[in-house]
């Protein structure tokens, strides 16, 4: 028998090699033709604390965690109870532990799941240089039906630098683990083999943060300035070496105030520019974002959201920066706010956002989040939709140049330093058309109108939302919540119940006509979001007409949405 998807959690103390084993399992599964997702979780220690890897493998593309885990493999019992709330198990789930580990915590002993013990430490001890995590990898690989060659290939790729002795010890551990799994399968009747379909497309393995970085490069971003912050740092660590390869640069700034103002400087210089941060950093950047609106400087800020307010829960996901992204700027400051609808879509949404920001000469805030940014996904190589930075500029020899000319589109061609005759001063002060500071009412009205007009008149095309399916009931959502919503909708479709999906990629400006068309014929709406105060629902209420029968599913972080929660809510409404 084969199943369509299998979910495996691995936990262990710091140094137990949980993440290494998890990543190897994911990569080997991908090599064997499967799709997969891996989310990391760790305790509060900076290094050396307990860690958990949550892996879901499937024959089909997947991009969100399942409702429950089939297997919980504890390399040891060290603080595993810290992860209890993240580890929903069923009576037929299996907890695998080390037979020599003492005192399993209550979370294990009182669990509804079946439990088996394997000689993890002992087997490792009998191999020179053997490590329990490699035995564990062998067991899990065999249970999931991943062929030895795929596991071996990954091991060789990762461990070749550590020398032949280490590699051989790991390979031996892997083989012995696979043998242990054979006994286990017979003993408890556990079979998690997945159907492996022919692999005809190039597969990529990447995190949302890496995808966001690639999207920036594809769009033409060549300057980045940033300050490290969890969970956005990986965007910067990925970009720093890669932006150099294409002739750009990344500056590590002294703080977020510096990073956003450096980005403004770079973009004023004509170079498409971007920074990445999380909630606390975005809060520091909001004054400068107002400057970019006023001076009409294109730039992109990727906000990888985490639990807030304040320091909040830095390592866990939440969508609660929506309000500050939409409304955080002082004054009337129209700007762009977008959100990727999946890990893979981080690439496209960032690329498209750079394109929009450059085209409209205004800042764009991209709302990614921890669960998108830090999860690794196996996907089909995405198509390049060729959205690039295209800024309207003036050429040498322009006379009587008016930087903020009142055009029909609201977009005024920009003079890039180096352009003869285009010399002007960009300003946070309100200006007249010729960029001279002005506090005259007519200039303020005209410039406010112009800055709003350029956003409202633009044709955003089909990418403003991800719209799928039909039905008189629709889910309206955005960001990382889209993935569990899509899976919930697929499950209902398998039961013959069709539900429409409208996942907004463009959050601001609001597009009332497009939204109305998307909801044509829809009688009931469920809004799903990961905030406590229903920020998204309130925003929709303020900008759009929603059917009378509109319900909201809103929960804050740190726990992810599971598709079953959304299915249950939709069934209530149907």
């Amino acid at each position: 028998m084969t199943s369509q998807t299998v979910s495996i959690a691995i936990t262990g103390a710091g140094g137990a090699g949980v993440m290494t084993a998890g990543q190897m399992l994911l990569d080997a599964a991908a090599k064997a033709g499967l799709y997969g997702l891996m989310t990391r979780s760790s305790g509060p220690q900076i290094r050396g604390g307990e860690a958990a890897a949550y892996i879901r493998l499937s024959s089909q593309p997947i991009d969100c965690p399942n409702d429950t885990f089939d297997v919980l493999f504890c390399f040891d019992w060290m603080n595993v109870d810290r992860f209890a709330a993240e580890l929903p198990l069923r009576p037929d789930s299996v907890i695998i532990g080390d037979q020599d580990a003492l005192n399993p915590p209550e979370m294990i002993t009182r669990s509804v799941a079946r439990q088996v013990l394997v000689p993890l430490g002992e087997t490792a001890k009998n191999i020179e240089g053997g490590r329990p995590n490699m035995i564990g990898l062998g067991i899990l690989g065999e249970l999931a039906g991943i062929p030895l060659e795929a596991l071996q290939a990954i091991l060789e790729k990762v461990l070749h630098r550590k020398g032949e002795v280490a590699l051989n010890a790991s390979l031996e551990g892997l083989r012995q683990g696979m043998q242990l799994a054979d006994d286990l399968e017979a003993e408890i009747g556990l079979n998690l083999h997945l159907e492996r379909l022919a692999q005809d497309k190039t597969r990529w393995s990447l995190t949302g943060n890496e995808a966001a970085g690639m999207g920036a490069l594809r769009a033409g971003v060549r300057f980045c300035a940033a300050y490290p912050i969890t969970p956005a740092t990986e965007i910067l660590e990925w970009l720093a070496p890669n932006i150099e390869k294409v002739g750009g640069t990344l500056v590590q700034a002294e703080d977020e105030l510096a990073s956003i103002n450096m980005v403004i400087g770079g973009s004023f210089g004509g170079v498409p520019s971007l920074t990445a941060t999380s909630g606390p950093g975005l809060a520091l950047m909001t004054e400068a974002l107002g400057l970019a609106v006023s001076a009409e400087i294109p730039l992109v800020v990727i906000d990888v959201m985490r639990g807030g307010p304040s320091t909040g829960i830095p390592t866990k996901s939440e969508q609660s920066d929506l309000n500050i992204a939409l409304h955080g700027l002082h004054g009337d400051a129209p700007h762009l706010v977008t959100a990727p609808t999946s890990i893979a879509d981080c690439l496209f949404t960032v690329q498209w956002s750079v394109h929009l920001a450059e085209k409209l000469q205004t800042p764009a805030i991209v709302l990614s989040d921890q669960s998108l940014g830090q999860s690794r996904n196996i996907i089909d190589k995405p198509a390049d939709l060729a959205f690039i930075a295209e800024r309207d500029v003036v050429g040498d020899g322009v006379v009587e140049y008016k930087r903020y000319a009142l055009t029909d589109s609201g977009v005024s061609p920009m003079a890039i330093p180096g352009t003869h005759g285009g010399e002007y001063v960009a300003d946070g002060l309100e200006t007249a058309e010729n960029a001279r500071p002005s506090s005259a009412a007519e200039d303020h009205y005209a410039q406010l109108d112009k800055r709003q007009r350029k956003l409202l008149k633009f044709e955003y095309g089909q990418h403003w939302a991800l719209i799928e399916g039909e039905g008189d009931i629709a889910v309206v959502t955005f960001g990382s919540v889209t993935a569990p919503v899509r899976e919930a909708i697929q499950r209902l479709a398998a039961d013959g119940q069709s539900v429409k999906l409208v996942a907004l990629r463009l959050l601001a400006p609001a597009l009332p006509d497009a939204f109305e068309a998307a909801l044509a014929g829809v009688e009931k709406v469920l809004v799903v979001e990961q905030t406590h105060s229903k920020q998204f629902y309130r925003y929709l209420r303020s900008e759009y007409d929603l059917p009378k029968q509109t319900d909201v599913l809103a929960k804050p972080g740190p726990l992810p949405y599971r598709p079953a929660e959304i299915v249950a809510k939709l069934k209530e409404m149907i």
Partner: protein, 278 residues
């Protein structure tokens, strides 16, 4: 190939705009504007190749009074914007300007890191020891017993910030002090600063005749060219230890590696994308 058309030599007036400054009559900043435009003329920087970047304050209005590219941004962030511009566009001549409040209070952190980073920009601070634009409050360089502000009626009681000392200890590679009452001297210092490869800092004592009228006396106190230039850090620090803040000249100049990544395309996007392939 040499250009056939001989470009006309630009004078300092060519670097000024026709826009009337908001400054009070007698403000030291007029002289600093003249000094900056004289330095640009001395170096014959093409107007389209220069940018003057500022934050908020009386002196931060300077970009609009020049005819080159400019950015009048937000309070305290001139150095950050100037850094971004220069790193992204190394072909440009970038000058950051501002006052003591903008540079040493709200923008103090950026000042430290600009000194450390050593990007090839020039930073001209017009120091009048007061917040002029908000009508006369104490700044970081105000003496502790100055009781002229309603905000600090008993004086600040806080030790003044010593810009040159801070610049030295933060690693600036060019440090100088000039005086608005000596515009030609100031122009020379700014010219030298712009020629310096790396971060150059020039403090210009620039009297505020409105909120610190006693500063009109500075012309009697300032000692032109008294600072002894050195490339020795301890000698420069020793000079400052006995200095009263009214001597002018270049204090310190050394060559340090300039922060300027080479912007050269060596790979294609496709090559980068291959790293995601399994």
């Amino acid at each position: 190939m040499e250009s056939v058309v001989q470009e006309k030599r630009l004078t300092f007036k060519d670097y000024k705009s026709d826009y009337k400054p908001v400054w009070c009559p007698g403000c030291g900043d007029f002289s600093v504007l003249a000094a900056i435009t004289k330095a640009l003329a001395e170096l014959q920087v093409p107007r389209e190749q220069a940018a003057v970047i500022s934050g908020i304050g009386c002196s931060s209005r300077i970009p609009a009074y020049t005819s080159v590219y400019g950015f009048h941004g937000i309070h305290g962030r001139a150095l950050a914007s100037a850094t971004g511009l220069k790193v992204a566009r190394p072909d440009l001549t970038v000058v950051a300007t501002g006052g003591d409040g903008d540079g040493f209070s709200i923008g103090g952190n950026h000042f430290l890191h600009a000194c450390r980073r050593n990007v090839d920009i020039t930073y001209v601070v017009m120091d009048n020891e007061v917040y002029g634009m908000t009508k006369g409050q104490a700044s970081p360089t105000t003496p502790p017993d100055w009781e002229g502000s309603k905000l600090t009626p008993h004086g600040t009681g806080v030790s003044p910030f010593n810009p040159l000392s801070v610049a030295l200890s933060a690693g600036a590679s060019f440090v100088a002090r000039g005086f608005a009452g000596d515009p030609n001297g100031a122009a020379k210092l700014i010219t030298q600063a712009m020629q310096h490869k790396g971060f150059s800092f020039v403090q210009i004592l620039s009297p505020c005749v409105t909120f610190r009228p006693e500063q009109t006396e500075w012309k009697k106190i300032v000692r032109k060219g008294e600072i002894e230039e050195t490339g020795n850090l301890s000698q420069a620090a020793a000079f400052l230890a006995r200095d009263d803040g009214f001597s002018t000249g270049v204090l310190y100049e050394v060559q340090r590696p300039v922060f300027q990544p080479t912007l050269q395309e060596k790979h294609t996007l496709q090559e980068i994308e291959e790293s995601f392939e399994l």
